[in-house]
Amino acid sequence: MELREKAKQLLESGDVKAVLGFEPGTGGVRRPAFARSAAQAEKLVFDGEQNLASYVTHKEVKRLGRLALVARPDTLRALLQLMGERQLKEGDVLPLVLEDGQVRELTDAQAIEEYLALTAKELPAQDRELLERLGGMTRQERWDFWQKELSRCIKCYACRSSCPMCYCEHCTMDCNRPQWVPVPSHALGNLEYHMVRAMHLAGRCVECGDCGRACPVGIPIHLLTFNAEESVHAQFGQRAGASAKLDYAMSTFRPDDKETFIR
């Protein structure tokens, strides 16, 4: 069944109250769109870049009722992680995935987990290249690279808004008594902001890369959260978004965690 047909069917049967997908925007871009009636479902398309899981924790979206949403593997991982963090109930969302040109519903967390188990996870070639280049640099070169990149940051917080895992109502960035991270976008504030963001996403980042895509000045900030997430995987052997059970690496420990730098 095609997406539009499926959306119509779901909305008419009352199974879901809204379908979240994409619609054609200006200049050939795809923008997220909510369809709340069969007539509105006519505009829906599947192929957008955004991770739509970032919408499901919004209060105004929750108020709509049960939501079906167009999902990529990254979106599914984000949904599982949100379920694990008790931000989302299993029945609150109905992810729709494309399989051989057909739209398929993933009705529960188990179905999502099974679907993900069959999907290979791979970083885009562009990111891999840049990571390799950074890995070959000396510390000083890496410092210069990030200082140059971060100097363009205007602290618009688009990375925070686009992230499905950044759902805190009171973000530490907005905390001003005491002022933990300087507000203006100067060198120190920018560095500290991105440091905090990466650390708060360590063990939780599903590596969708939406923060990097959302950045209006094109800083590869997603690599920072990828780094934190990858070092969690390398050292503790777990990944965010693998199951709907909470498995947060930074809130637990093993007495035999191996490090090499503590004297």
Binding site: L191, E192, M195, V196, M199
Partner: protein, 145 residues
């Protein structure tokens, strides 16, 4: 005033082991270099990763982080949580180009007064050779805070 560089070293230590250990160094009359500023916190688990960044921004040239040995935490597991945090944060700092050689992690128990003196001496000598961490301090001076 001499024009030789004297490093500023910030030490974040836990109340129960390293702070008591440093106390023992003093009561044992062991002399060590005076470049270290000790900040006492309840537990290594309390040491937020941002405290390190803040120390560098406020002019520290080196940082020591020290607490109870694994299995000896006063709060049972604070140092285990801290260890995990440093395992991730250290990699991230290195990835961002921050000089992790300026940060020393250590376990010093309340009985290891001599180890504390040795640690401080070693770190001070190391940082003295590295010179001031102007790269990071310049960031702080470049903008308002």
């Amino acid at each position: 005033m001499t024009d030789t560089f004297e490093p500023k070293i910030t030490a974040f230590v836990c109340n129960w082991c390293t702070y008591a250990g440093a106390d023992l160094t003093g009561t044992s009359r062991i002399k060590y270099q005076s470049n270290v500023r000790v900040l006492r916190l309840p537990c290594t688990g309390r040491i937020d990763f941002m405290l390190l960044a803040k120390a560098f921004a406020r002019g520290a040239d080196g940082i020591i982080i020290s607490g109870c040995h694994p299995n000896d935490c006063h709060y049972t597991s604070g140092n285990y949580h801290a260890r995990r945090r440093w395992m991730i944060y250290r990699n991230l700092m290195d990835f961002m180009g921050i000089d992790t050689a300026r940060i020393t992690f250590s376990w010093v128990s309340a009985a290891e007064g001599a180890k504390w003196a040795e640690l401080v001496n070693e770190v001070t000598t190391g940082i003295r050779a590295m010179g001031p961490y102007t790269e990071y301090q310049e960031l702080a001076n470049a903008g308002v805070e």
